[in-house]
Amino acid sequence: MENENGSGSITRREMLAGTAVAVTALAITSVTGLEAAPASPIVTPVESAGVSFNVNGKAVNLEMDTRTTLLDVLREHLHLTGTKKGCDHGQCGACTVLVNGRRINSCLSLALQHQDDSITTIEGIGTPENLHPMQSAFIKHDGFQCGYCTPGQICSAVAVLEEIKAGVPSHVSTELMGPMAFSNAEFRERMSGNLCRCGAYSNIAQAAAEVAGVTG
């Protein structure tokens, strides 16, 4: 099944029918909606499903199109627009959020993959009235210009400091096993999945260094 092209001869209707039958027959743990599908040869497509997770400390239950990405759920369904869509293909990092404390590209993740997960977006990192130290440092060091990549940069930077603390190695770590420490080179390598076309990189590194307690 590594290649998709083989299934080209099956019509859409047959596939849907097949799916519905299979689901009922195997009684696999499935998602809301599917159980309700009648096991008749002609079925209405059941391509919506439910998911529940936690966003910034709040429980969220949603029923949506299976195709919805975590990014689009955040922006279009929950109206948490701090998480940005820059490319929708994992190529820019503007959509970075923390899932169970780890940073991911929310554009390359289906919302349905996040059942029971705990998601933190930029809105959960800090607010204008109550800024996270990383947000304050970005302001102080002018670590942004247009601001569009900024929430992603900040989510990533917060996670990067944790990754370094946890001893996760990077491409530029000289010793794989050695204790990891914040350095300009370490930070920059680890942040390279967050593009900034305004070119605030040098300032972002200064901001993070300050938060990490390193000067220079």
Partner: protein, 733 residues
């Protein structure tokens, strides 16, 4: 207010707020994700449908048939817009592109249809169900092949004349004792701003409101009115925050047109963003250039002849990339020639990108200067200094308003440790890395144009500034607030700035490095009026009134500023217009770039290790924001030097690498700590602000400084950007 005499002392010179490295006032919003960009106005538009553009699958030809049946029947689909139901569409005034193809296709990924559905997922999928048949025709995609038949372009609104000749260039070049004659090329480049072009369009009767992402609100209203054939008065555009532009969001592009049409056809507000893989071939880009540079000099390094010719291509009627602009003004030399040629290509439209003309022109010119210095056995810094000119090289007698190119080069050389550079290429090695240093001059014009603003004062002494100026990361919110605070004698906490709404007074907009200097001058003019109104209201002599610490004083009388608005808000509006000073003086910004690179001796991977820019660019309104503009430009310059290229497939006729994985821009790991030195430059010929722009200056010359450093490291000269390891390998003999 008209500015036609050099400015004297004025309230801005107090420098209580202006000139301070203030944090961006919108920082808390941007860093918390609460600043709203075009696609995010969920409060203002609660029931939007989603639009999705389907781009042309061919580069040139005709649409013969569109079968919409499957798409129409797909779940959630509300409407499909094609040329057939869009109504007549005209071209705007700035871009020549047609924003909806049909039946003709002008370039790859030109919008063919807009699908509107209840959800984004539905619209995207339905787009794929459109069956579009095309008839291909032969197109032209290869500038190299068309170079010899390229034509002299007609005069353009922006940019230099197609040809300039001073003295006898050909004769002087022929007889010059030392000379160089080389051809360079710069590729098609993408703005690649982080926020894709996006619009939410909403009709109320015949009134259209669009939340959008464009740099020039006034051009946007003008162009959208022309394109849709509706009165300007019926259009309101709002762009409070813009996720980067760099010239790529000058005015109306496909998203605005498609969303407006789709909302009309669907009878619902429509939100639409260009999908990233569509942007590269659908919108505009910086076009490829081929540039020939000839320099002749005395053996002692004095330039006697300098010639710069440049070829670029565009859609029929499109503009020329004015790559020769800087050569007209940067160095002395009695005999001069510049020439532009334009070919017709069937690729997406070439248009303005940060420092149009000057950035690619300097990419070539400043390598040429390096090559010439080597021929003369001169230090490249010394060679440039030797050919400085304190008057316009084309118009002897016309002075520069200010010009400290020499100081930029000298200061930079000293700070950077230039004297530790070994002039012999390939002579410094650290481990497996070859180390080299490079320098380039920087120059960029300093235009300033008409700009208006309105300022309001309320009884609590709060000043609100309204202008349709935009902030695309340029720091505009902050410098406008600083201007108003300085003028009205209040702290920044007493100023509210509202930008990016076409219902506000018309500003200069953001482009051509004119934004900061022009928009703050407009605010200055409005504030002068407001000061008069305050004085009048309080019965004070306007000429003597002092505005400071939130109070107004004249003689022994003193009022809280808000007192003037006790009974009614005070509102003042004015615009700054300009006389002839820019003709009298050459108004330009200058700088110097220094770069150190390491090149891997085996693989020729290139990594930038140190960067320094020294800039001389008028009064610096906010050194923190100005520095950011420069480091951002330096970053873009590294991209231009080492990786950025939209690759043309000359068979198919499109930019192949049309996403952010294929079109590489610099990442964190590419950019070291960047140092910027801002030399003092108070230029009273510019405006009462005495300021110029800096955002484009920062880019001019960077790429060639990198190129020259690579040469110094390796001894291999690459004249075709980007300088990649395969080109070093190929030329490594």
């Amino acid at each position: 207010m008209k500015f036609d005499k050099p400015a004297g002392i004025n309230p801005i010179d107090q420098l209580k707020v202006i000139g301070k490295p203030t944090d961006r006032i919108e920082g808390p919003l941007k860093t918390t994700g609460t600043a709203k960009y075009a696609y995010e106005h969920n409060q203002e538009v609660t029931n939007p449908a989603y639009g999705y553009i389907v781009g042309s699958a061919i580069a040139k030809g005709m649409i013969t048939r569109i079968d919409q049946s499957a798409a129409k029947a797909a779940p959630g689909v509300l409407a499909i817009v094609t040329a057939a139901n869009a109504g007549p569409l005209q071209a705007g005034k700035f871009y020549v592109s047609r924003f909806l193809a049909g039946p003709q296709i002008d370039h790859y990924h030109q919008a063919v249809a807009v699908v509107v559905a209840e959800t984004f997922e539905q619209a995207r999928y339905a787009g794929s169900l459109l069956k579009i048949d095309y008839k291909k025709s032969k197109g032209s995609f290869d500038l190299d092949a068309l170079k010899d038949s390229a034509q002299t372009p007609p005069p353009a609104q922006f940019g230099p004349p197609a040809q300039t000749m001073i003295g006898d260039f050909e004769g002087a070049f022929k007889t010059a004792q030392v000379k160089m004659d080389e051809t360079y090329s710069t590729p098609d480049q993408a703005h690649a701003m982080m926020e894709p072009h996006a619009t939410i369009a909403k009709w109320e009767g015949d009134k259209l409101t669009c939340w959008c992402s464009i740099q020039q609100m006034n051009w946007g209203v003008r162009d959208l009115a022309i394109i849709l054939g509706i009165p300007k008065e019926n259009i309101r555009l709002i762009a409070s925050y813009i996720g980067g532009g760099f010239g790529g969001k000058g005015t109306v592009l496909a998203d605005l047109v498609a969303a407006s049409l789709a909302a009309r056809v669907a009878g619902r507000p429509v939100k639409l963003a260009l999908q990233r893989p569509l942007m590269f071939n659908n919108t505009i880009h910086r076009p490829k250039t081929i540039q020939r540079i000839r320099i002749g000099a005395d053996p002692d390094g004095k330039i006697t002849a300098i010639g710069h010719e440049s070829w670029s291509g565009n859609l029929q009627g499109g503009r020329t990339e004015p790559a020769t602009a800087s050569t007209r003004i940067l160095y002395a030399g009695a005999n001069r020639l510049t020439r532009l040629k334009l070919a017709v290509l069937d690729l997406a439209e070439g248009n303005a990108m940060r420092a149009p003309g000057e950035a690619p022109g300097m990419m070539a010119l400043e390598i040429a200067m390096d090559e010439m210095a080597e021929k003369l056995s001169m230090d490249p810094v010394a060679f440039r200094i030797k050919n400085d000119s304190q008057e316009d090289p084309e118009k002897p007698g016309r002075k520069f308003s200010t010009r400290k190119l020499v100081e930029c080069l000298q200061t930079g050389a000293e700070k950077f440790g230039w004297n530790s550079r070994n002039a012999k290429p390939g002579s410094i090695k650290e481990g497996q890395w070859l180390i080299g240093m490079g320098v380039a001059s920087a120059v960029r014009g300093a235009p300033v144009t008409k700009s208006a603003a309105r300022v309001r004062l309320n009884s609590s002494g709060i000043i609100t500034v309204e202008t349709d100026m935009t902030d695309l990361g340029t720091g505009t919110y902050t410098i406008i607030a600083q201007t108003a605070a300085e003028m009205m004698g209040v702290g920044l906490d007493k100023v509210v700035v509202k930008l990016g709404d076409s219902s506000f007074p018309e500003s200069a907009g953001s482009g051509g490095q004119w934004g900061a200097a022009s928009s703050t001058s407009g605010v200055y003019a409005a504030c002068v009026k407001l000061r008069e109104a305050v004085a009048n209201r309080l019965g004070l002599d306007a000429d003597k009134a002092q505005f400071a610490d939130g109070r107004v004083r004249a003689g022994d009388r003193s009022f809280a500023l808000g007192d003037a608005a006790k009974n009614a808000e005070l509102v003042a509006q004015d615009e700054m217009t300009y006389g002839e000073l820019s003709k009298e003086y050459a108004q330009t910004t200058f700088g110097a770039h220094f770069v150190e690179v390491a090149v891997h001796a085996y693989t020729f991977e290139i990594r930038v290790r140190r960067m320094l820019a020294v800039c001389h660019a008028g009064r610096i309104l906010n050194p923190k924001a100005a520095r950011s503009q420069v480091i951002g430009a330096m970053t873009m310059g590294v991209g231009a030097a080492l990786m950025e290229e939209m690759v043309v497939d000359k068979n198919i006729g499109f930019f192949v690498n049309h996403d952010l994985a294929g079109y590489e821009v610099p990442v964190h790991a590419d950019i070291p700590y960047q140092e910027v030195i801002l030399l003092e430059d108070i230029d009273p010929t510019m405006s009462p602000m005495k300021a110029k722009g800096i955002g484009e200056l920062g880019l001019c010359g960077v790429a060639s400084a990198v190129a020259n450093a690579v040469y110094n490291a390796t001894g291999i000269r690459v004249r075709d950007y980007p300088i990649t390891l395969d080109k070093l390998l190929k030329n490594n003999v």
